[in-house]
Assembly symmetry: C2
Homo-oligomer: 305 residues x 2
């Protein structure tokens, strides 16, 4: 059933099988695509092959077999490496192929990447994603995208398979990454603010669970407050998204604004809070661990399973 | 019909007929209560009398006629004045009467107020409210409350008439104001963060309306982002809640934490941003006007009606 339209569907490549990339690749398989994948971790690649995907030996080997490739690596440096480094994908893609670049990168990088790929006869869709590993796995990501309308037409079935919301923000790469950057600014500030608020509440003797319940239903709530404070209440800092990720993402925001001489007082403060958490040894923990920078309070302990 | 149970309902006093107090008083009238009211603005009092309420000449005059009084003035100083100042309510209330104190005040003040009223043979419910003028008018406020269970029993029909959610947070005054303080911390930081994010987005060339649409549906969203950014998009800074209110409320948060030697990096930064807005002449504008502190960007202009 799932493969009934496979003849009309283009072959797709996915580079980067982390928590987001694996979910996207699995969603494409489920929708009937032939999915080629590359990841530096051999065991992840083997797992994907066992699930029905096709493992590639390198980005270049993958690129020779597809007309659409989605890059879901961690940052700009890795995006650059898998496209233009040794055995990179860009040189091996057929003319007119589309590169969907989905790592969180500076808007400036997104603009330059688009120009570079265009000069090689390729299309680029600037397409950072939001929603986390669960939405990636269920094919319900939000995609903040910008690029050539003709490329979008070719990729429509791909977006149908991986996204619940496809925001089209412009006809040139850049605006997708700009909106994603603003989203990360708010997400990072809201996580740090949630930690600061819960820390003060605990200091003032409030019951943390009652505080969470009331604020979640009041004007002080945020998506991040509702999502991250339960980690604090459970005393469980298993990383869904780590402190170090927001050091990186808020760093991108601050660097971009600084190039334009633009001040971001709250973002800079939140960045320092995440840096304090990392300096104290919590960089690899869940980002809610930023609450550990507040001294003199007793946080809820982890319940025994 | 609305008055069919009036014989069983206690007479209630409302002191302070601002946007919150007037809505509460009107909700009580609608529920069939006999409602006495006092406000320093004579014309507001006349309007309430014309709507079916009973105007009092002073807090003391009001207090002599009721067993429950709700204080909905602006701050701790006004709460103190209407209760203990010249012609204040406290000395005129019958023994066993309940004072529901709903201004946003420091938790320390709420604790002291409870002790003072108890020493006079009165009950006190610490009961700050959230929800804004619209929810006050429709009788759907959230109430963050703490106080003597016997007092709650007497006041249940009052809360039924004015609140959609009554959070009971403790048996002594203080915890209601603590939770409200934490809510205001987050609300203030989120308004300032919304402004910072929209300012950077505009600087980076994003379409403000598209940015609002995407972020509202993404992990960067907050209650305040969804509520206040439309004011920025409309270029309409008619005050629903003014910049000066958050200078006051975040000031309460910072003062309370400072007494405990507790650091609040984001709250302090947001407070400075609201102070910058007020120093530039925007203190009486809507709190979304904090975005005007960001130089070098062109904000959406007000549409002509």
């Amino acid at each position: 059933m799932a493969n009934s339209n496979a003849a009309q569907l283009p072959a797709v490549g996915v580079i980067g099988l982390g928590s987001m990339g694996y979910g996207v690749a699995a969603s494409l398989l489920r929708a009937g695509f032939q999915v080629h994948a590359f990841d530096v971790r051999r065991e992840t690649l083997d797992r994907f092959a066992a699930a029905g995907g096709i493992a590639a030996e390198s980005p270049a080997a993958l690129a020779a077999r597809v007309r659409i490739v989605i890059i879901l690596v961690v940052n700009a440096a890795q995006t650059d490496a898998v496209l233009f480094g040794e055995n990179g994908a860009a040189g091996a893609l057929p003319a007119g192929a589309v590169v969907i670049s989905s790592a969180t990168v500076a808007p400036e990088f997104a603009v330059q990447l688009g120009a570079r790929l265009t000069a090689m006869g390729l299309h680029n869709i600037d397409a950072p994603v939001s929603g986390g590993a669960v939405k990636a796995a269920s094919g319900e990501l939000s995609v903040m995208s910008a690029g050539d309308p003709a490329a979008f037409e070719l990729c429509q079935p791909v977006f149908d398979a991986i996204a619940a919301k496809l925001y089209r923000l412009g006809d040139e790469p850049g605006q997708g990454s700009t909106v994603k950057m603003i989203n990360q600014l708010l997400a990072g500030v809201h996580i740090a603010a949630s930690a600061e608020a819960m820390a003060l509440g605990i200091k003032a003797g409030a019951d943390p669970a009652a505080l969470y319940e009331v604020i979640s239903n009041s004007a002080g709530s945020s998506w991040m407050f509702q999502n991250r404070v339960p980690h604090i209440l459970d005393g469980d800092y298993t990383p869904h998204s780590a402190v170090n990720i927001f050091i990186k993402d808020l760093g991108i925001v601050l660097d971009s604004a600084r190039k334009e001489s633009f001040p971001l007082p709250l973002t800079a403060t939140a960045h320092q809070m995440f840096l304090s958490a990392a300096a104290a040894g919590h960089g690899a923990e869940d980002d809610a661990a930023v609450i550990k920078i507040f001294p003199g309070i007793t946080l809820p302990e982890r319940k025994q399973p």
